[in-house]
Protein backbone atom coordinates (compact mmCIF):
# COMPACT_ATOMS: atom_id res chain seq x y z
CA UNK A 1 0.00 0.00 0.00
CA UNK A 2 1.26 3.45 -0.81
CA UNK A 3 0.43 6.56 1.18
CA UNK A 4 1.58 8.79 -1.66
CA UNK A 5 -1.18 10.84 -3.24
CA UNK A 6 -1.68 13.90 -5.40
CA UNK A 7 -3.29 15.70 -2.44
CA UNK A 8 -1.60 19.11 -2.29
CA UNK A 9 -3.89 21.83 -0.92
CA UNK A 10 -1.07 24.38 -0.60
CA UNK A 11 -0.19 24.19 -4.31
CA UNK A 12 0.64 27.69 -5.60
CA UNK A 13 -0.75 29.29 -2.42
CA UNK A 14 2.69 30.12 -0.98
CA UNK A 15 5.52 31.91 -2.77
CA UNK A 16 9.12 32.97 -2.68
CA UNK A 17 9.05 36.76 -2.63
CA UNK A 18 12.82 36.98 -3.09
CA UNK A 19 16.23 35.37 -2.75
CA UNK A 20 19.68 36.80 -2.03
CA UNK A 21 23.22 35.48 -1.72
CA UNK A 22 26.62 36.67 -0.58
CA UNK A 23 28.30 34.65 -3.32
CA UNK A 24 30.60 31.82 -2.25
CA UNK A 25 34.38 31.56 -1.73
CA UNK A 26 36.42 28.35 -1.46
CA UNK A 27 38.62 29.71 1.32
CA UNK A 28 38.20 30.86 4.90
CA UNK A 29 36.43 34.20 4.54
CA UNK A 30 37.57 35.62 7.87
CA UNK A 31 33.91 36.07 8.70
CA UNK A 32 31.47 34.29 11.00
CA UNK A 33 28.38 32.46 9.81
CA UNK A 34 26.37 35.18 11.56
CA UNK A 35 28.08 37.86 9.47
CA UNK A 36 27.46 36.02 6.20
CA UNK A 37 23.84 35.27 7.13
CA UNK A 38 23.20 38.85 8.23
CA UNK A 39 24.34 40.13 4.83
CA UNK A 40 22.14 37.74 2.84
CA UNK A 41 19.14 38.18 5.16
CA UNK A 42 19.15 41.97 5.21
CA UNK A 43 19.70 42.01 1.43
CA UNK A 44 16.66 39.83 0.77
CA UNK A 45 14.41 41.67 3.22
CA UNK A 46 15.31 45.01 1.62
CA UNK A 47 15.02 43.65 -1.94
CA UNK A 48 11.45 42.57 -1.19
CA UNK A 49 10.61 46.02 0.15
CA UNK A 50 10.13 44.71 3.69
CA UNK A 51 11.50 45.65 7.12
CA UNK A 52 12.39 43.59 10.19
CA UNK A 53 8.96 44.28 11.64
CA UNK A 54 7.31 42.49 8.69
CA UNK A 55 9.01 39.16 9.52
CA UNK A 56 6.97 36.86 11.78
CA UNK A 57 8.72 33.55 11.07
CA UNK A 58 12.41 32.53 11.13
CA UNK A 59 13.77 29.28 9.71
CA UNK A 60 17.45 28.30 9.54
CA UNK A 61 20.28 26.39 11.20
CA UNK A 62 23.24 28.69 11.90
CA UNK A 63 22.94 31.15 13.49
CA UNK A 64 19.96 29.74 15.35
CA UNK A 65 16.59 31.45 14.91
CA UNK A 66 16.80 33.06 18.39
CA UNK A 67 20.24 34.47 17.51
CA UNK A 68 18.99 35.64 14.12
CA UNK A 69 16.03 37.42 15.67
CA UNK A 70 18.27 39.25 18.13
CA UNK A 71 20.92 40.07 15.52
CA UNK A 72 18.46 41.65 13.08
CA UNK A 73 16.17 43.22 15.68
CA UNK A 74 13.07 41.37 14.49
CA UNK A 75 10.49 42.47 17.07
CA UNK A 76 8.03 39.56 17.35
CA UNK A 77 7.75 36.15 15.64
CA UNK A 78 5.01 33.54 15.98
CA UNK A 79 6.95 30.61 14.44
CA UNK A 80 10.58 29.51 14.15
CA UNK A 81 12.35 26.28 13.32
CA UNK A 82 15.82 24.84 12.83
CA UNK A 83 15.38 22.00 10.29
CA UNK A 84 18.19 19.69 9.20
CA UNK A 85 19.79 19.92 5.75
CA UNK A 86 19.37 19.90 2.77
CA UNK A 87 17.54 23.16 2.46
CA UNK A 88 14.37 21.94 0.70
CA UNK A 89 13.43 20.79 4.21
CA UNK A 90 13.45 24.42 5.35
CA UNK A 91 11.36 25.39 2.32
CA UNK A 92 8.88 22.61 3.11
CA UNK A 93 8.30 23.59 6.72
CA UNK A 94 8.28 27.33 6.00
CA UNK A 95 5.76 26.84 3.19
CA UNK A 96 3.56 24.71 5.43
CA UNK A 97 3.85 27.23 8.28
CA UNK A 98 2.70 30.05 6.01
CA UNK A 99 -0.10 27.99 4.46
CA UNK A 100 -1.39 26.88 7.86
CA UNK A 101 -1.31 30.38 9.34
CA UNK A 102 1.40 29.76 11.94
CA UNK A 103 2.96 32.89 10.49
CA UNK A 104 2.74 34.98 7.33
CA UNK A 105 6.23 36.01 6.26
CA UNK A 106 9.23 33.74 6.91
CA UNK A 107 12.91 34.55 6.66
CA UNK A 108 14.69 31.36 5.51
CA UNK A 109 18.49 31.24 5.43
CA UNK A 110 21.42 28.86 5.06
CA UNK A 111 25.14 29.42 5.64
CA UNK A 112 27.52 27.00 3.91
CA UNK A 113 30.71 27.17 5.96
CA UNK A 114 34.12 25.50 5.78
CA UNK A 115 34.40 23.27 8.83
CA UNK A 116 36.85 20.54 9.93
CA UNK A 117 34.52 17.72 8.82
CA UNK A 118 34.68 18.83 5.19
CA UNK A 119 38.07 20.50 4.88
CA UNK A 120 41.10 20.27 7.15
CA UNK A 121 42.36 23.64 5.93
CA UNK A 122 39.40 25.29 7.63
CA UNK A 123 41.44 24.89 10.84
CA UNK A 124 43.77 27.66 9.73
CA UNK A 125 40.96 29.69 11.33
CA UNK A 126 41.24 28.57 14.99
CA UNK A 127 37.63 29.52 15.75
CA UNK A 128 36.42 26.79 13.39
CA UNK A 129 37.93 23.96 15.41
CA UNK A 130 36.17 24.83 18.65
CA UNK A 131 33.87 22.03 19.76
CA UNK A 132 34.96 19.79 16.90
CA UNK A 133 37.78 17.62 18.28
CA UNK A 134 39.70 15.60 15.70
CA UNK A 135 39.72 11.81 15.86
CA UNK A 136 36.43 11.46 17.71
CA UNK A 137 34.71 9.48 14.95
CA UNK A 138 34.21 5.73 14.66
CA UNK A 139 37.45 5.09 12.72
CA UNK A 140 38.01 4.15 9.09
CA UNK A 141 35.90 0.94 8.98
CA UNK A 142 32.63 2.74 8.35
CA UNK A 143 30.74 4.16 5.39
CA UNK A 144 28.63 6.60 7.37
CA UNK A 145 28.49 10.18 6.10
CA UNK A 146 30.00 11.11 2.77
CA UNK A 147 31.81 7.78 2.40
CA UNK A 148 28.42 6.18 1.80
CA UNK A 149 28.08 7.89 -1.57
CA UNK A 150 31.49 6.59 -2.58
CA UNK A 151 30.50 3.07 -1.57
CA UNK A 152 27.33 3.21 -3.65
CA UNK A 153 29.36 4.73 -6.52
CA UNK A 154 31.35 1.49 -6.55
CA UNK A 155 28.09 -0.45 -6.64
CA UNK A 156 26.86 1.73 -9.52
CA UNK A 157 30.02 0.97 -11.52
CA UNK A 158 29.68 -2.72 -10.65
CA UNK A 159 26.03 -2.98 -11.71
CA UNK A 160 26.21 -0.94 -14.93
CA UNK A 161 29.88 -1.14 -15.93
CA UNK A 162 30.08 2.62 -16.49
CA UNK A 163 33.37 4.52 -16.88
CA UNK A 164 34.46 7.24 -14.45
CA UNK A 165 34.14 9.69 -17.37
CA UNK A 166 30.39 9.63 -16.76
CA UNK A 167 31.01 11.18 -13.34
CA UNK A 168 33.49 13.59 -14.92
CA UNK A 169 30.89 15.04 -17.28
CA UNK A 170 28.80 16.10 -14.28
CA UNK A 171 31.79 17.99 -12.88
CA UNK A 172 32.59 19.64 -16.22
CA UNK A 173 28.95 20.72 -16.71
CA UNK A 174 28.96 22.44 -13.33
CA UNK A 175 32.26 24.18 -14.01
CA UNK A 176 31.19 25.46 -17.43
CA UNK A 177 28.00 26.85 -15.89
CA UNK A 178 29.89 28.45 -12.99
CA UNK A 179 31.92 30.49 -15.48
CA UNK A 180 28.77 32.59 -15.99
CA UNK A 181 28.13 33.03 -12.26
CA UNK A 182 30.13 35.82 -10.60
CA UNK A 183 29.19 34.40 -7.19
CA UNK A 184 30.68 30.96 -7.90
CA UNK A 185 33.80 29.83 -6.07
CA UNK A 186 35.44 27.98 -9.02
CA UNK A 187 35.10 29.44 -12.51
CA UNK A 188 38.18 28.30 -14.44
CA UNK A 189 37.40 25.80 -17.24
CA UNK A 190 37.69 22.08 -16.49
CA UNK A 191 38.65 19.37 -18.99
CA UNK A 192 38.20 15.60 -18.84
CA UNK A 193 41.99 15.31 -18.58
CA UNK A 194 41.86 17.55 -15.50
CA UNK A 195 39.12 15.34 -14.06
CA UNK A 196 40.90 12.04 -14.68
CA UNK A 197 44.18 13.30 -13.22
CA UNK A 198 42.61 14.83 -10.08
CA UNK A 199 43.69 13.43 -6.72
CA UNK A 200 41.85 10.26 -5.72
CA UNK A 201 40.28 10.66 -2.27
CA UNK A 202 38.21 7.50 -1.87
CA UNK A 203 38.16 5.23 -4.91
CA UNK A 204 36.14 5.48 -7.12
CA UNK A 205 35.66 9.19 -6.32
CA UNK A 206 38.31 11.90 -6.67
CA UNK A 207 38.55 15.47 -5.43
CA UNK A 208 36.45 16.77 -8.37
CA UNK A 209 33.58 14.35 -7.62
CA UNK A 210 32.95 16.00 -4.24
CA UNK A 211 31.28 19.31 -3.52
CA UNK A 212 33.37 22.31 -2.74
CA UNK A 213 33.61 23.50 0.89
CA UNK A 214 32.78 27.21 0.82
CA UNK A 215 31.89 30.20 2.97
CA UNK A 216 28.74 32.09 2.09
CA UNK A 217 25.04 32.52 2.78
CA UNK A 218 21.71 32.42 0.98
CA UNK A 219 18.47 33.93 2.25
CA UNK A 220 14.86 33.78 1.12
CA UNK A 221 11.49 35.33 1.94
CA UNK A 222 8.57 32.90 1.85
CA UNK A 223 5.06 34.31 2.26
CA UNK A 224 1.55 33.88 0.92
CA UNK A 225 1.25 34.21 -2.85
CA UNK A 226 -1.27 36.97 -2.21
CA UNK A 227 1.16 39.01 -0.13
CA UNK A 228 4.07 38.28 -2.47
CA UNK A 229 2.14 39.89 -5.32
CA UNK A 230 2.15 43.19 -3.39
CA UNK A 231 5.94 43.14 -2.86
CA UNK A 232 8.79 44.46 -4.98
CA UNK A 233 9.82 41.35 -6.95
CA UNK A 234 7.91 38.82 -9.08
CA UNK A 235 6.53 35.96 -6.94
CA UNK A 236 7.75 32.42 -7.54
CA UNK A 237 5.07 29.94 -6.49
CA UNK A 238 5.74 26.71 -4.61
CA UNK A 239 3.96 24.19 -6.81
CA UNK A 240 4.91 21.16 -4.69
CA UNK A 241 7.52 20.20 -2.13
CA UNK A 242 8.37 16.84 -0.59
CA UNK A 243 10.89 14.82 1.37
CA UNK A 244 11.50 11.09 0.91
CA UNK A 245 12.92 8.24 3.00
CA UNK A 246 12.60 4.45 3.15
CA UNK A 247 12.70 1.98 6.04
CA UNK A 248 16.35 0.98 5.74
CA UNK A 249 18.03 4.36 5.42
CA UNK A 250 21.47 3.78 6.95
CA UNK A 251 24.25 4.08 4.38
CA UNK A 252 25.26 0.41 4.48
CA UNK A 253 21.74 -1.04 4.92
CA UNK A 254 20.07 0.94 2.08
CA UNK A 255 18.30 -1.67 -0.09
CA UNK A 256 19.59 -0.68 -3.53
CA UNK A 257 20.23 2.15 -5.98
CA UNK A 258 16.62 1.67 -7.10
CA UNK A 259 15.05 1.66 -3.63
CA UNK A 260 15.97 4.63 -1.45
CA UNK A 261 14.73 8.13 -0.67
CA UNK A 262 14.95 9.40 -4.24
CA UNK A 263 12.25 7.02 -5.48
CA UNK A 264 9.86 8.27 -2.78
CA UNK A 265 10.58 11.89 -3.70
CA UNK A 266 9.97 11.18 -7.38
CA UNK A 267 6.68 9.37 -6.73
CA UNK A 268 5.38 12.08 -4.37
CA UNK A 269 6.64 15.16 -6.20
CA UNK A 270 5.39 13.92 -9.54
CA UNK A 271 1.95 13.17 -8.07
CA UNK A 272 1.67 16.59 -6.42
CA UNK A 273 3.15 18.78 -9.19
CA UNK A 274 1.56 20.26 -12.32
CA UNK A 275 4.56 19.38 -14.49
CA UNK A 276 7.43 16.95 -14.70
CA UNK A 277 10.49 16.44 -16.91
CA UNK A 278 8.61 17.27 -20.11
CA UNK A 279 7.39 20.56 -18.66
CA UNK A 280 10.40 22.00 -16.89
CA UNK A 281 12.52 24.82 -18.26
CA UNK A 282 15.50 24.15 -15.96
CA UNK A 283 16.59 21.08 -14.02
CA UNK A 284 18.44 21.14 -10.69
CA UNK A 285 19.66 17.67 -9.65
CA UNK A 286 21.74 17.54 -6.48
CA UNK A 287 25.46 17.19 -7.07
CA UNK A 288 27.12 16.93 -3.68
CA UNK A 289 28.78 13.86 -5.22
CA UNK A 290 28.74 13.32 -8.99
CA UNK A 291 27.01 9.89 -8.94
CA UNK A 292 24.07 11.44 -7.07
CA UNK A 293 23.38 13.54 -10.17
CA UNK A 294 23.43 10.52 -12.51
CA UNK A 295 21.09 8.67 -10.15
CA UNK A 296 18.70 11.61 -10.06
CA UNK A 297 18.60 11.64 -13.89
CA UNK A 298 17.73 7.95 -13.83
CA UNK A 299 15.29 7.93 -10.93
CA UNK A 300 13.51 11.10 -12.09
CA UNK A 301 12.85 9.39 -15.40
CA UNK A 302 15.02 11.36 -17.83
CA UNK A 303 16.57 7.99 -18.77
CA UNK A 304 16.75 4.39 -17.60
CA UNK A 305 18.81 2.85 -14.77
CA UNK A 306 22.54 3.06 -15.46
CA UNK A 307 21.97 5.34 -18.45
CA UNK A 308 22.69 8.66 -16.70
CA UNK A 309 26.10 9.07 -18.31
CA UNK A 310 24.83 8.16 -21.76
CA UNK A 311 21.98 10.62 -21.27
CA UNK A 312 24.46 13.37 -20.44
CA UNK A 313 26.57 12.48 -23.50
CA UNK A 314 23.49 12.53 -25.75
CA UNK A 315 22.50 15.99 -24.46
CA UNK A 316 26.03 17.43 -24.35
CA UNK A 317 26.67 20.77 -26.04
CA UNK A 318 30.32 20.41 -27.07
CA UNK A 319 30.78 24.09 -27.85
CA UNK A 320 29.55 25.18 -24.41
CA UNK A 321 30.94 22.07 -22.62
CA UNK A 322 27.71 21.61 -20.70
CA UNK A 323 24.41 19.76 -20.68
CA UNK A 324 21.49 21.24 -22.61
CA UNK A 325 18.68 18.70 -22.50
CA UNK A 326 16.94 18.63 -25.88
CA UNK A 327 19.29 21.47 -26.80
CA UNK A 328 17.37 23.73 -24.41
CA UNK A 329 17.21 22.81 -20.71
CA UNK A 330 20.32 23.66 -18.67
CA UNK A 331 21.27 21.58 -15.63
CA UNK A 332 22.42 23.47 -12.52
CA UNK A 333 23.08 26.68 -14.49
CA UNK A 334 24.63 28.38 -11.43
CA UNK A 335 27.47 25.83 -11.28
CA UNK A 336 25.99 23.57 -8.61
CA UNK A 337 27.60 22.23 -5.49
CA UNK A 338 30.74 21.16 -7.36
CA UNK A 339 31.70 24.61 -8.71
CA UNK A 340 29.51 27.35 -7.26
CA UNK A 341 30.04 25.70 -3.90
CA UNK A 342 28.54 23.09 -1.60
CA UNK A 343 25.40 24.78 -0.31
CA UNK A 344 23.31 21.74 0.69
CA UNK A 345 20.90 22.85 -2.10
CA UNK A 346 20.39 26.46 -1.04
CA UNK A 347 22.26 27.53 -4.19
CA UNK A 348 20.02 25.38 -6.38
CA UNK A 349 16.88 26.87 -4.83
CA UNK A 350 18.18 30.46 -4.99
CA UNK A 351 19.18 30.07 -8.65
CA UNK A 352 15.75 28.63 -9.49
CA UNK A 353 14.03 31.60 -7.82
CA UNK A 354 16.28 34.09 -9.62
CA UNK A 355 15.73 32.36 -12.97
CA UNK A 356 11.94 32.43 -12.58
CA UNK A 357 12.12 36.09 -11.54
CA UNK A 358 14.24 36.94 -14.59
CA UNK A 359 17.12 38.00 -12.33
CA UNK A 360 19.79 35.44 -13.34
CA UNK A 361 22.05 37.82 -15.26
CA UNK A 362 24.01 36.32 -18.13
CA UNK A 363 22.78 32.86 -17.08
CA UNK A 364 19.15 33.83 -17.64
CA UNK A 365 17.16 31.14 -19.44
CA UNK A 366 14.87 33.01 -21.83
CA UNK A 367 11.26 32.78 -20.78
CA UNK A 368 11.88 30.35 -17.91
CA UNK A 369 8.61 29.66 -16.11
CA UNK A 370 9.16 26.30 -14.39
CA UNK A 371 11.97 24.68 -12.40
CA UNK A 372 12.36 21.11 -11.13
CA UNK A 373 14.67 20.66 -8.14
CA UNK A 374 15.62 17.20 -6.89
CA UNK A 375 17.83 17.80 -3.87
CA UNK A 376 19.83 15.55 -1.59
CA UNK A 377 21.17 12.05 -1.84
CA UNK A 378 19.89 8.54 -1.16
CA UNK A 379 19.69 7.79 2.54
CA UNK A 380 17.93 10.31 4.80
CA UNK A 381 18.11 13.49 2.78
CA UNK A 382 16.29 13.10 -0.56
CA UNK A 383 14.00 16.03 -1.30
CA UNK A 384 12.11 17.60 -4.19
CA UNK A 385 10.67 21.00 -5.09
CA UNK A 386 8.78 22.32 -8.11
CA UNK A 387 8.52 26.07 -8.68
CA UNK A 388 6.47 28.08 -11.18
CA UNK A 389 6.44 31.75 -12.05
CA UNK A 390 3.22 33.57 -11.19
Amino acid sequence: MSTISSHNPMKNAVAFAGAATTGFVAKNSGRSQASLAAQACTDVIKACGLTAADIDGICGMVPSPPEMQTMLGIPRVTWFDNPVMPVVNAVAVATAAVFSGLCQTVLVYHTPYRLPWNTASSLQDPFRGIGMPAGSGPGPESIFGGVGYTAWASRYIHEYNVPREHFGLVAINDRSNAARNPGAAKRTPLTMEDYLSARMIRWPLCMLDMDLPVDGADAFIITTAERARDLALPPVLVNAVTLGMVEKNQEDQTPSLRNHGQQVVVDALRAKSDFWTDGTDIYFPYDGFTPITLNWFENTGWCGPGEGGQFVEANWNAEQQRILIDGRIPVNPHGGALSEGGSQASGHIREAVHQLQGLAGERQVDGARTALITAGGYFFNAQGLTLVSD
Binding site: G135, S136, G137, P138, G139, P140, E141, S142, I143, V147, T150, A151, W152, S154, R155, H158, R199, M200, I201, R202, W203, P204, E247, K248, Q250, D252, Q253, P255
Partner: protein, 150 residues
Protein backbone atom coordinates in the same frame (compact mmCIF):
# COMPACT_ATOMS: atom_id res chain seq x y z
CA UNK B 1 34.11 -12.95 31.60
CA UNK B 2 32.67 -9.99 29.75
CA UNK B 3 30.00 -9.69 32.42
CA UNK B 4 32.79 -8.08 34.41
CA UNK B 5 33.19 -5.41 31.74
CA UNK B 6 31.26 -2.38 32.91
CA UNK B 7 29.55 0.14 30.66
CA UNK B 8 32.27 2.62 31.64
CA UNK B 9 34.88 0.08 30.50
CA UNK B 10 33.17 -0.16 27.10
CA UNK B 11 33.26 3.60 26.67
CA UNK B 12 36.99 3.54 27.44
CA UNK B 13 37.74 0.49 25.23
CA UNK B 14 35.75 1.62 22.16
CA UNK B 15 36.35 5.36 21.73
CA UNK B 16 34.22 6.97 19.03
CA UNK B 17 31.95 3.95 18.60
CA UNK B 18 28.15 4.41 18.80
CA UNK B 19 27.72 2.87 22.26
CA UNK B 20 24.25 2.83 23.80
CA UNK B 21 22.25 0.46 26.01
CA UNK B 22 21.13 -1.13 22.72
CA UNK B 23 24.60 -1.68 21.22
CA UNK B 24 26.62 -2.52 24.34
CA UNK B 25 26.10 -6.28 23.97
CA UNK B 26 27.54 -6.16 20.43
CA UNK B 27 30.73 -4.56 21.77
CA UNK B 28 30.94 -7.00 24.69
CA UNK B 29 30.78 -9.71 22.03
CA UNK B 30 33.75 -8.20 20.22
CA UNK B 31 35.85 -8.64 23.36
CA UNK B 32 35.21 -12.41 23.08
CA UNK B 33 35.70 -12.32 19.30
CA UNK B 34 32.05 -13.12 18.69
CA UNK B 35 30.18 -11.03 16.06
CA UNK B 36 26.75 -10.44 17.59
CA UNK B 37 23.84 -9.07 15.55
CA UNK B 38 20.37 -8.41 16.97
CA UNK B 39 17.78 -11.07 16.16
CA UNK B 40 14.10 -11.24 17.07
CA UNK B 41 13.36 -14.43 19.01
CA UNK B 42 9.68 -14.25 18.06
CA UNK B 43 9.87 -13.97 14.26
CA UNK B 44 13.56 -14.62 13.57
CA UNK B 45 14.25 -11.30 11.80
CA UNK B 46 17.83 -10.04 12.00
CA UNK B 47 18.46 -6.29 12.22
CA UNK B 48 21.44 -4.02 11.84
CA UNK B 49 22.25 -1.53 13.37
CA UNK B 50 20.97 -2.71 16.77
CA UNK B 51 17.62 -1.26 17.84
CA UNK B 52 15.57 -2.39 20.87
CA UNK B 53 12.54 -3.58 18.92
CA UNK B 54 11.95 -5.86 15.94
CA UNK B 55 11.03 -3.71 12.89
CA UNK B 56 8.98 -6.58 11.47
CA UNK B 57 6.74 -7.70 14.39
CA UNK B 58 7.49 -5.06 17.09
CA UNK B 59 8.54 -7.71 19.57
CA UNK B 60 11.00 -6.44 22.13
CA UNK B 61 12.43 -9.97 22.54
CA UNK B 62 15.47 -8.97 20.50
CA UNK B 63 18.66 -10.85 21.38
CA UNK B 64 22.22 -10.20 20.23
CA UNK B 65 23.03 -13.44 18.39
CA UNK B 66 26.28 -14.72 16.91
CA UNK B 67 26.45 -14.85 13.11
CA UNK B 68 28.51 -17.27 11.04
CA UNK B 69 30.62 -14.46 9.65
CA UNK B 70 30.28 -15.60 6.05
CA UNK B 71 28.98 -13.33 3.33
CA UNK B 72 29.53 -11.46 0.08
CA UNK B 73 31.11 -8.08 -0.64
CA UNK B 74 28.24 -5.71 -1.52
CA UNK B 75 30.01 -2.33 -1.50
CA UNK B 76 33.70 -1.45 -1.40
CA UNK B 77 35.74 1.76 -1.30
CA UNK B 78 39.47 2.36 -1.03
CA UNK B 79 40.46 5.25 1.23
CA UNK B 80 43.42 7.32 0.00
CA UNK B 81 43.08 9.38 3.15
CA UNK B 82 41.00 9.01 6.27
CA UNK B 83 40.84 9.24 10.03
CA UNK B 84 43.99 8.25 11.91
CA UNK B 85 43.90 4.70 13.30
CA UNK B 86 46.63 2.44 14.66
CA UNK B 87 47.94 0.08 11.99
CA UNK B 88 46.14 1.87 9.14
CA UNK B 89 48.53 3.28 6.52
CA UNK B 90 46.79 5.09 3.69
CA UNK B 91 49.92 4.97 1.49
CA UNK B 92 48.28 1.78 0.25
CA UNK B 93 44.60 2.70 -0.22
CA UNK B 94 42.69 1.18 2.68
CA UNK B 95 39.73 -1.05 1.77
CA UNK B 96 36.41 -0.55 3.53
CA UNK B 97 33.75 -3.07 2.54
CA UNK B 98 30.10 -3.61 3.34
CA UNK B 99 29.45 -7.33 3.61
CA UNK B 100 26.04 -8.87 2.96
CA UNK B 101 25.84 -11.57 5.64
CA UNK B 102 24.49 -15.02 4.75
CA UNK B 103 21.92 -14.98 7.57
CA UNK B 104 19.40 -12.74 5.76
CA UNK B 105 19.15 -10.82 2.44
CA UNK B 106 20.02 -7.15 2.99
CA UNK B 107 21.62 -7.76 6.42
CA UNK B 108 24.98 -6.03 6.16
CA UNK B 109 28.04 -5.30 8.27
CA UNK B 110 30.84 -2.90 7.36
CA UNK B 111 34.54 -3.33 8.11
CA UNK B 112 37.80 -3.83 6.20
CA UNK B 113 39.11 -6.78 4.19
CA UNK B 114 42.59 -8.08 5.06
CA UNK B 115 45.09 -10.47 3.51
CA UNK B 116 44.45 -9.72 -0.16
CA UNK B 117 45.75 -7.21 -2.72
CA UNK B 118 43.27 -4.41 -3.40
CA UNK B 119 42.75 -5.57 -6.98
CA UNK B 120 41.24 -8.80 -5.63
CA UNK B 121 38.81 -7.07 -3.26
CA UNK B 122 35.82 -6.63 -5.53
CA UNK B 123 32.04 -6.63 -5.23
CA UNK B 124 30.62 -10.16 -5.38
CA UNK B 125 33.57 -11.95 -3.74
CA UNK B 126 32.84 -14.31 -0.84
CA UNK B 127 34.40 -13.52 2.56
CA UNK B 128 34.76 -14.97 6.04
CA UNK B 129 35.09 -13.29 9.41
CA UNK B 130 38.45 -12.79 11.10
CA UNK B 131 39.69 -10.63 13.96
CA UNK B 132 42.58 -8.19 14.31
CA UNK B 133 43.78 -6.04 17.18
CA UNK B 134 42.79 -2.37 17.19
CA UNK B 135 44.44 -0.44 20.03
CA UNK B 136 44.10 -3.40 22.40
CA UNK B 137 40.56 -4.47 21.46
CA UNK B 138 39.46 -7.05 18.86
CA UNK B 139 38.15 -5.62 15.58
CA UNK B 140 35.95 -7.80 13.34
CA UNK B 141 37.36 -7.87 9.79
CA UNK B 142 36.95 -10.09 6.74
CA UNK B 143 39.19 -12.24 4.55
CA UNK B 144 38.47 -13.47 1.04
CA UNK B 145 37.10 -17.02 1.23
CA UNK B 146 39.43 -19.79 0.04
CA UNK B 147 39.41 -19.99 -3.74
CA UNK B 148 35.88 -18.63 -3.93
CA UNK B 149 34.46 -16.09 -6.31
CA UNK B 150 30.99 -15.53 -7.64
Amino acid sequence: MTDLITDADLVRLFPGQPLTHDSAAHYRGRLEQRLLINRCTDCGTWQQPPFPICPKCWSTAVVPTEVAGTGTIHLVVFLYQGPPAPGVDYSTPYPVATIELDEQPGLRFTSTVIGAPNDDIVIGKRVTLDWIDRAGTPLPVFRLAEGAAT
